[in-house]
């Protein structure tokens, strides 16, 4: 049986319309949001009319809540649906979700707002307007019912998908008035519930997207199959900044299944074949010559040297200044006190999402469509338009669930650009581009590398009279989002270290403080990596605080408390973590405990770790993590995000490192880019202390405290400081 027989041609209309199309006896079981709308030009939409952009109620009472942000495991799909459902007053058991397409968003004057799903902003940036969407739909349903009864809307209320007329106790289901409600003029002003009255939001509800992930039915981008689709494997010049010199297509064109060998922009070559495995096999056999470009002399050593020079450079961008730290430090140690100084280093990291980068593109001279797991459908759409050369209204993007995002699939749409470049060379044929793990490791947008040198003056009582924190290293914005630079400075470098930004400010008061950044940008593409710069900033500050406490002879919690009197929310989470680990009672013999706290992504987080080191091997026995995100929309999801943060944060702390040699990354797969596995996973206890009144993110901040809590615990257990990461490079003892 050939592949074509196994997947008989079906019309695209039929194929896409079937949410669970049985094709050739195989249930492909996936749903492409808005497929009908996008493809059935002129055909009536099978969906009932929407009530508003956020809410569709079907006659059978099924509620479809539209979610613009992407689901990549973080639970935003469920959380945002909870917020809409809360105001809608619908029956939660009848809720489903769908992604509106980025193209529809543009056509409707961006009614769904931003599609960006990063910076732990999925909920905190959209809670207000999605709740208003739910509230407006509720008011319209009530108004429709009231009109049907001929009674004032004010006499009616909604609960659990049922509208009740108070005086007469008559009821109507949402589904019975949905059509009429959709024709009403939306209310201009709606009142939102006080979070203390929440019944659906704020509750640890089960995720809406679990069942299909347990049976193989969930379709990720890598799994997409379209009629007539071909598959592409790609290889870009492994040296950053290099280009394609030549390749010998004839050498592989006769290999099984190969359809075409194409150049992809100036930087890569792709083989297109009937199956991906055949494409990859031919690509591996394809002779390619590269112009390696100007960066072949760049290595981890040369980058480290470049950054080291920045630690003592005169010029630096100031991120936080109180008093005059330089003048104070120039005076030397205060009477009876001391000067403490230490330098730290944090390496490049790859996002290493479990699903490698991929995108499927279909290009014709009239239209370009792309199916892609993306953290920002609108960024994808913009790249589709640019790469296809078509006006944006002739382009469309269909979002699929992500097999991990972590920042890799947001700003960077390099794989989308490549997929369009390939599809343009095969008009009318859908082509799925899937990167190998090796391609994914060699062409990341890496967590930037930085170093930091901290110097502080302690007086005789152990008070910090001055502190200078110099960060040297790579700016993400300079490369990725230059429009976000402020007079040459990258403000994101100072995550968690600012004087007063609500996004994240330093939780310590030091009378003379200077935090500055000597920007040093190696030619390695940087990116937003889950937690971003908060990750290393927390390691630098929290490990140094620990070093100062030790120098002052004061235990670390008491030392921090003295510096935190003006920062009660920072202190509250730290105290919660310390209490959880049992800070006031000593750990078992041979074990050590460490603390860390920071504020980032609008939330306050802290961790306490208990570790031991035996025969050179580190064991993390226990973690207690405390989080104050203001409002907690789904406490169970927050727990999962906090637990997961330790896998990401400790993978980086213990193992994560991409090293550069000859202008390229040395690690190509998980055999050399080690990550944490189940055997290394500590028990994590999550303490949620939402104090209300603000909306903080939860997907990222806790990652930052994982590393320093463990490093400080390692010091407590062994008396040794490890100041360059990852720990695998050190002989622990």
């Amino acid at each position: 049986m050939t592949i074509a027989q196994k997947f008989p041609a079906v019309s695209r209309r039929n194929f896409l319309a079937g949410a669970s199309a049985a094709v050739g006896g195989l249930s492909l079981g996936f749903h492409i949001p808005f497929a009908d709308k996008a493809f059935a030009q002129g055909a009536a939409s099978p969906l009932p009319p929407e009530i508003n952009a956020w809410v569709v109620v079907k006659p059978d009472d099924t509620v479809v809540i539209r979610v613009a942000r992407s689901e990549m495991g973080q639970g935003t799909l469920t959380g945002l649906a909870q917020l809409v459902a809360e105001e809608l007053e619908c029956d939660w058991s009848k809720v489903t979700t769908e992604y509106p397409s980025p193209g529809d968003n543009l056509k409707r004057n961006r009614v769904w707002g931003s599609y960006s799903t990063g910076g732990s902003r999925g909920i905190r940036d959209s809670h207000d307007y999605v709740r208003k969407g739910g509230a407006a739909a509720r008011e319209m349903l009530i108004a429709a019912a009231a009109a049907q009864w001929g009674v004032p809307a004010g006499e009616c209320s909604a609960a659990n998908s049922v509208i009740t007329h108070g005086p007469s106790r008559r009821t109507l289901r949402f589904g019975e008035v949905t059509e009429a409600a959709g024709k009403l003029t939306p209310p201009t002003d709606v009142k939102l519930k006080d979070p203390k009255d929440w019944q659906i939001a704020g509750k640890p509800l089960a995720r809406l997207d679990t069942a299909d992930k347990l049976t193989g039915k969930q379709v990720y981008g890598a799994d997409l199959k379209l009629p007539g689709m071909l598959n592409a494997a790609v290889k870009a010049c492994p040296v950053f900044g290099g280009t394609v010199a030549s390749f010998d297509a004839a050498a592989v064109e006769k290999m099984p299944g190969v359809k075409k060998v194409v150049k992809v922009d100036d930087t890569a070559v792709a083989v297109v074949a009937d199956t991906w495995w055949r494409a990859k096999t031919a690509l591996d056999a394809l002779p390619i010559t590269w112009n390696e470009g100007p960066n072949t002399g760049v290595s981890s050593a040369s980058i480290a040297e470049m950054l080291r020079a920045g630690l003592d450079a005169d010029e630096a961008f100031v991120g936080n200044r109180q008093g005059d730290a330089k003048a104070e430090l120039a005076k030397g140690a205060p009477a009876g006190g001391k000067i403490v100084t230490a330098s730290y280093a944090f390496p490049y990291q790859n996002h290493a999402t479990m699903e490698p980068m991929n995108a499927t593109a279909l290009y014709t001279p009239e239209k370009c469509e792309v199916w892609v797991p993306t953290q920002n459908g609108e960024s994808s759409l913009a790249v589709v338009a640019e790469a296809s050369g078509l006006p944006v209204n002739q382009c469309e993007v269909y979002k699929l669930h992500l097999g991990g995002g972590f920042g890799r699939r947001g700003n960077f749409q390099d794989y989308v650009r490549q997929s369009v470049s390939i599809a343009k060379q095969m008009p009318g044929t859908p082509v799925k581009l899937l990167w190998s793990r090796e391609e994914d490791m060699l062409h990341g947008n890496y967590h930037p590398t930085t170093q930091a040198k901290l110097t502080a003056a302690l007086d005789a009582q152990g008070n910090v009279t001055a502190m200078h924190m110099r960060i040297s290293g790579q700016s993400i914005l300079a490369t990725v989002r230059p429009e976000g630079m402020q007079g040459g400075m990258d403000p994101v470098v100072f995550q968690g270290l600012t004087a007063n930004l609500p996004e994240g400010h330093l939780g310590y008061t030091v009378p003379n403080l200077l935090i500055d950044h000597a920007m040093r940008n190696p030619p390695i593409p940087p990116g937003f990596w889950r937690g971003v710069n908060l990750n290393q900033n927390a390691i630098y500050v929290e490990c140094f605080i620990d070093e100062m406490a030790d120098a002052a002879g004061i235990e670390p919690l008491a030392f921090r408390r003295k510096l935190m009197v003006n920062h009660p929310k920072h202190l509250a989470v730290l105290e919660a973590a310390a209490k959880g680990i049992g800070w006031d009672t000593p750990p078992a013999e041979g074990r050590g405990r460490g603390l860390a706290q920071i504020m980032g992504f609008g939330s306050y987080v802290a961790a306490a770790a208990e570790v031991s080191v035996t025969n050179g091997e580190l064991t993390v026995h226990r973690i207690v993590a405390a989080t104050d995100p203001g409002h907690a929309v789904n406490p169970a999801q927050i727990e999962r995000q906090v637990e997961g943060s330790f896998v990401y944060g400790l993978s980086a702390c213990l193992y994560g490192e991409c090293t550069v040699k000859g202008g390229r990354m040395e690690q190509e797969n998980f055999d050399t880019y080690e990550v944490m596995r189940l055997a290394q996973m500590p028990a994590v206890e999550t303490v949620l202390v939402p104090s209300g009144g603000f909306w903080g993110g939860v997907g990222e901040p806790t990652i930052a405290v994982a590393g320093p809590a463990v490093l400080n615990a390692v010091f407590a257990a062994t008396g040794k400081r490890y100041r360059s990461l990852p720990l695998k490079n050190h002989e622990l003892s």
Binding site: M1, I3, K6, F7, G24, L26, L28, M72, G73, Q74, A206, R207, D209, T210, A211, K213, L214, T215, G216, K217, Q218, V219, Y220, A222, K225, N231, T275, W276, W277, A352, T353, M354, E355, P356, H401, L402, G403, G404, G405, F406, L434, R437, E438, A636, R640, E643, G644, F646, V647, Y648, N669, F670, D671, V675, M676, R677, L678, A679, M681, V684
Partner: protein, 152 residues
């Protein structure tokens, strides 16, 4: 024409003999529940059962598998997601992004077949699949739950 027995059915397909089982499942047979993660048997996203043994299919040439050998993929673990491991996974809402979870479930099901009451150490030794979202603690808890379920 080659043949494999997958989820109780004999499947015919054309593929080069050195094609890994993973890609025959995903491309020739259209079963995409088994995932591609690394291609070098490091991550376990491609885990299937061959004669009951959890096997990383991304490095297993199809020519090395006999038609008589029984391959079970996530699609065939249970007809309706009712395997004790799947039920435990649902009860504890284990997956985050979910991409690694079908492989994780297949590894867990195989572990429980050979060791119905695994200890934490057994689980740590046997479940070496990679998850980047960080579901490990819930994976461990769900395996214990499924073990109880099976025993009951």
């Amino acid at each position: 024409m080659a043949r494999l027995t997958v989820n109780g059915r004999v499947e015919e397909f054309e593929a080069e003999p050195d094609t890994p089982l993973l890609w025959v499942l995903r491309e020739q047979l259209g079963m995409t529940g088994t995932k591609f993660g690394c291609g070098i048997a490091q991550c376990g996203a491609c885990t299937v059962h061959i004669d009951g043994v959890a096997t990383r299919s991304c490095v297993m040439p199809v020519s090395s598998i006999e038609e008589s050998q029984k391959i079970v993929t996530i699609e065939g673990l249970s007809p309706d997601g009712s395997h004790p491991v799947q039920k435990a996974w649902l009860a504890l809402d284990v997956p985050q992004c979910g991409y690694c979870q079908t492989g994780m479930i297949m590894a867990a099901a195989s572990l429980l077949d050979t060791n119905p009451k695994p200890s934490d150490d057994d689980i740590a030794a046997e479940i070496t699949n990679i998850c980047r979202c960080g579901t490990y603690n819930r994976v461990r808890a769900a395996i214990h739950m499924a073990a109880g379920d099976k025993a009951g």
